[in-house]
């Protein structure tokens, strides 16, 4: 393989072809489905425009902004604390705060409503200890939009946290040191240096959060909050896919608005840093240390530990009632497919980034950005867009290579999740200033090996983070997996969903969810060693 990498060189033409090919893979399904918005619709469209559309839009906007703001607090603050200070448990919390990534949002929602509902854990213990009257008085109706906002933030803040972590601990450490030698206190370093320098990474993370919220279905539907995405499914259930796609198109436009907004907020600053020595973490003594620990630990407690323990407790009662046949092969399917997809998707994102940059003169960057459209459209809708070209290719070549195969599934993940790995990589390159240009140019003139020797090491943290994010996203993915999977093919996610769906609770889904979460933690533990400082 070394020989192989030594010899490959990419010509400009080669890059153009690569870019166009990638764009075709992504855009053909996207446009295939979006064109249906312009076909005649059934009667749902009238209902939607008459009764629902403005509510869909406001609910979607409100939920994304609410979750986004919470994720800012949940993401930025702990990232700052663990990368700049030493306090009890820091090392564990630094990793642990990434764990909620592996909990699917609908599992989080079902788990917490299960904890709080009138037959749930909280009511049970309050009634047992303080009597039924107290329990009734203390009843908390968890199924409300505000609590859902918090729950979604629990699942999604790691996107912001991970982005800020990279920025604070490697991207801006020299500048932070400079600020402290200039007499700037911790607080003022945060606001004057840390935060402004983390801005590109932060908005990249925040954009991912907002996309996830806009496309959220399971939890939102259970709480019966009518958003654009639930609207899409309502219309589709009503047999009117064309109207559903119209709503999806509106969703896409809102996503684009958020994209522009995040671009504008990122500003035009160019950040160039290189860091060899890690920043010296301050020991937080006494009450300050306890405060930092309490904040980070509470976040970990509520976003991960409590739901995890509740699921574990449910597993012990549920395992008898569920079919555990093929548990191991499901776990295997889940892990293998997620690893393969995550690595491939991250590498393709990398190629896309390079190709776009190298072809800047002919608008390459804008073209590359088109390749990220898939993240702004609900997976179920894209799945339909994928079916059509897959069927065409399969019948043309007379085989079943794409539709209903793992290969096809990985391609589908690629179309949808390219953006997830593209964001962190692009952010890292932006922090490297002109190095992206150098790197792309060197790829034109020098062998690919240079890329691995010279440019990749700088990007390692971002690369690793991109793989982790895509891994967990693929692992949790449902709408595309369900419809595009091979026959008789189950993953932990599909099985957890099956039980959650038939019972509309997380109890029976618990054993599968637990294993799913544990598998999601593996790459976090393994890969974070690679970016350990």
């Amino acid at each position: 393989m070394l020989h192989f990498t030594k010899r490959i060189k990419f010509s400009r033409k080669g890059w153009l072809l690569t870019l166009l090919f990638l764009l075709a893979v992504v855009l053909i399904p996207v446009f295939t489905i979006l064109l249906r918005a312009f076909e005649p619709s059934g009667n749902s469209w009238n209902l939607i425009t008459e009764f629902f559309l403005s509510r869909y839009i406001w609910n979607s906007l409100g939920l994304s902004l609410g979750v986004g703001s919470l994720c800012l607090i949940f993401g930025v603050l702990p990232a700052w604390l663990v990368s700049n200070f030493d306090f009890p448990g820091r090392k564990w919390l630094k990793l642990g705060l990434l764990f909620p990534l592996s909990i699917p949002t609908y599992i989080m929602a079902y788990t917490y409503t299960g904890i709080f509902d009138s037959t749930g854990t909280v009511q049970h213990y309050v009634a047992a200890w303080f009597g039924q009257a107290t329990a009734n008085a203390m009843y908390f109706d968890s199924m409300n939009p505000y609590f859902l906002t918090v729950l979604l933030a629990f699942c999604l803040y790691p996107y912001v946290y991970s982005a800020c972590l990279i920025s604070f601990s490697s991207g801006s450490s020299r500048q932070l040191e400079a600020a402290s030698s200039l007499g700037s206190t911790a607080m003022s370093r945060f606001f004057r240096v840390g935060l402004p320098l983390a801005k590109p990474a932060l908005f990249t993370g925040l954009f991912l959060v907002i996309m996830e919220v806009l496309n959220e279905y399971g939890a939102v539907q259970y709480f019966n909050i009518k958003t654009l995405t639930t609207g899409i499914f309502t219309a589709w259930e009503n047999g009117d896919l064309n109207s559903a796609v119209r709503v999806a198109l509106i969703l896409l436009m809102i996503a684009m608005l958020f994209l522009l907004l995040s671009k504008w907020l990122k500003g035009k600053q160019k950040i160039t840093t290189s860091t060899k020595t890690p920043i010296l973490r301050r020991k937080l003594s006494g009450s300050k240390g306890i405060l930092a620990m309490t904040f980070c630990f509470s976040l970990f407690l509520f976003s991960f530990f409590i739901p995890f323990i509740q699921l574990l407790a449910w597993s012990t009662i549920a395992y008898k009632g569920v079919v555990l046949d093929g548990f191991a092969s499901m776990a295997g399917n889940t892990f293998l497919v997620s690893v393969v997809a995550a690595v491939i998707i991250t590498m393709v994102a990398f190629l896309l980034l390079f190709a776009g940059n190298l072809l800047q003169s002919i608008g390459g960057r804008k073209l590359a950005a088109l390749g990220l459209l898939g993240y702004s459209i609900p997976g179920a809708i894209i799945a339909v867009g994928i079916i059509i070209p897959f069927v065409f290719l399969d019948t043309t070549f007379g085989s079943d290579v794409l539709l209903g195969s793992v290969t096809g599934l990985v391609i589908a993940y690629l179309i949808r999740f390219l953006s997830v790995s593209y964001g962190p990589l692009k952010g890292a390159f932006e922090r490297q200033g002109s190095r992206l240009d150098d790197a792309s140019l060197s790829l034109q003139s020098r062998p690919v090996k240079t890329l691995f020797k010279v440019h990749l090491p700088i990007l390692k943290p971002a690369f690793v983070m991109a793989v982790i994010l895509v891994f967990v996203d693929v692992m949790k993915e449902l709408p595309m997996t369900l419809i595009l999977r091979p026959m008789n093919y189950d993953t932990l996610a599909t099985e957890a969903y099956r039980y959650a769906q038939t019972n509309e609770s997380a109890v029976q889904a618990a054993p599968f969810s637990i294993l799913l979460i544990l598998i999601g933690i593996i790459p976090i533990l393994v890969l974070s060693k690679l970016i350990k400082r």
């Binding site: 393989m1 009667n43 749902s44 209902l47 009764f51 629902f52 409503t113 509902d117 009138s118 037959t119 749930g120 009511q123 049970h124 009734n136 009843y139 199924m143 539907q221 259970y222 019966n224 639930t230 499914f233 589709w236 259930e237 009503n238 047999g239 009662i317 549920a318 008898k320 009632g321 569920v322 079919v323 293998l336 393969v340 690595v343 491939i344 179920a380 339909v384 059509i388 069927v391 079943d400 209903g404 195969s405 793992v406 691995f452 020797k453 990749l456 090491p457 390692k460 690793v464 709408p479 369900l482 419809i483 026959m487 008789n488 599909t494 099956r498 038939t502 509309e504 609770s505 690679l530």
Partner: protein, 355 residues
């Protein structure tokens, strides 16, 4: 650096592994199919919206009894219908959990009339499409669960009673996006008219104890906890509560009684989970065999025992729990009507402000 290169190597390695495994999996399934096909046993491909464990068991039993391999893909009916419409060459049987989706599938032209006297003989007319494009497998009743403590069931005999002012703030029900609610609404429309139905929906909405959310079991829990007096639910959700591992859920289930409404006039609203044979079914014979099997006394009893659904085949005894809920009158409206009125029902919900 070594790591990064390692990741790359791993990626290449795994991606080659990945493609190998897909090839492998196809090798193991595809030749098997052909082999079995030549043995004249073959396969049957099922696209199902029923995600229950008992369905898996039933398919395994079918495989053992007939040697026909059952290939299953489970997803939401709307997506499965779209997949069949786009691909359309491998699906044999479509199974859904309500009649509206079956009607949608028929309208899309992806179902063909079932020609089996065994099937048509076992399923009553009203639970079949008029040209037998689809047939019912199990029955589900949408009924009223009332607080045994606070409600006298004599005061609550019909769906229409729900609009009575005395239930102000007392009714718990789930979202109007739910197909069971939509089918209930369709039956109300079919038995009166759109205006009456809208008036009814508005009346029920004004009696809501909270804005609709959660699932049917959550509604029962609302009643058990005293925050509502009446919940509108499908019968099998109560079965699930009563058989829960969680004692608090069992208690909640025991706190309510069931009214199968309108027992003095048209009867309780009934919906089906049903199946159809796909237009381009490559294994049509096996598809019919499977559906026949699903209608056998044995399987009908399994549905009833494991999933608390009512057998669609007359004469099959339902489970003890179901029998304990008593006998009642069921609405004679052909379900096809309900399927066709689905869009109207959604429109009525929208106009009535039922979230």
């Amino acid at each position: 650096m070594k790591y990064t290169f390692g990741i790359f190597c791993m990626a290449l390695f795994l991606s080659s592994c990945g493609s190998n495994t897909t090839e492998n999996s196809e090798e193991t399934t595809a030749p098997l199919n052909q082999e079995e096909a030549t043995n004249d046993v073959g396969i049957v491909t099922v696209y199902s919206h029923r995600h229950y464990d008992v369905d898996k068991k039933i398919f395994t039993d079918f495989e053992e009894k007939t040697g026909i391999k059952v290939m299953v893909k489970e997803d939401k009916a709307s997506k499965l219908i779209e997949l069949i419409a786009q691909k359309g060459d491998d699906a044999d049987v479509l199974i859904t959990v309500d009649v509206a989706r079956l009607e949608q599938a028929r309208e899309k032209g992806i179902l063909q009339p079932i020609e089996s006297e065994v099937i048509t003989g076992r399923v009553p007319d009203k639970f079949r499409g008029s040209e037998n494009h689809w047939i019912g497998l199990t029955k589900r009743y949408r009924v009223l669960a009332y607080s045994k403590e606070r409600v006298d069931p004599e005061e609550l005999t019909t769906y229409e009673d729900l609009t009575d002012e005395k239930w102000m703030g007392k009714i718990a029900v789930r979202s109007s996006d739910n197909t069971y609610n939509q089918s209930l609404m369709a039956s109300i429309i079919a038995n009166s008219n759109q205006d009456e139905a809208t008036k009814w929906a508005k009346g029920v909405v004004s009696n809501f104890c909270r804005s609709p959310k959660g699932n049917d079991r959550d509604q029962v829990k609302e009643v058990a906890a005293g925050r509502a007096d009446i919940a509108i639910i499908n019968t099998y959700y109560l079965g699930k509560l009563l058989n829960s591992e969680n004692q608090a859920e069992v208690d909640a289930g025991n706190a309510v009684g069931l009214v199968f409404p309108n027992y003095e006039d048209r009867g309780a609203h009934v919906n089906i989970s049903g199946a159809g044979v796909c237009t381009n079914a490559p294994n049509k014979e096996n598809a019919v065999k499977l559906i026949e099997y699903l209608l056998s006394d044995e399987v009908q009893a399994m549905y009833s025992a494991a999933n608390y659904e009512y057998p669609v085949v007359e004469g099959v005894e339902s489970s003890e729990l179901l029998q304990s809920w008593g006998t009642f009158k069921e609405d004679d409206l052909p379900l096809e009507e309900i399927g066709k009125l689905n869009s109207t029902a959604i429109a009525v919900f929208a106009a009535s402000g039922w979230e």
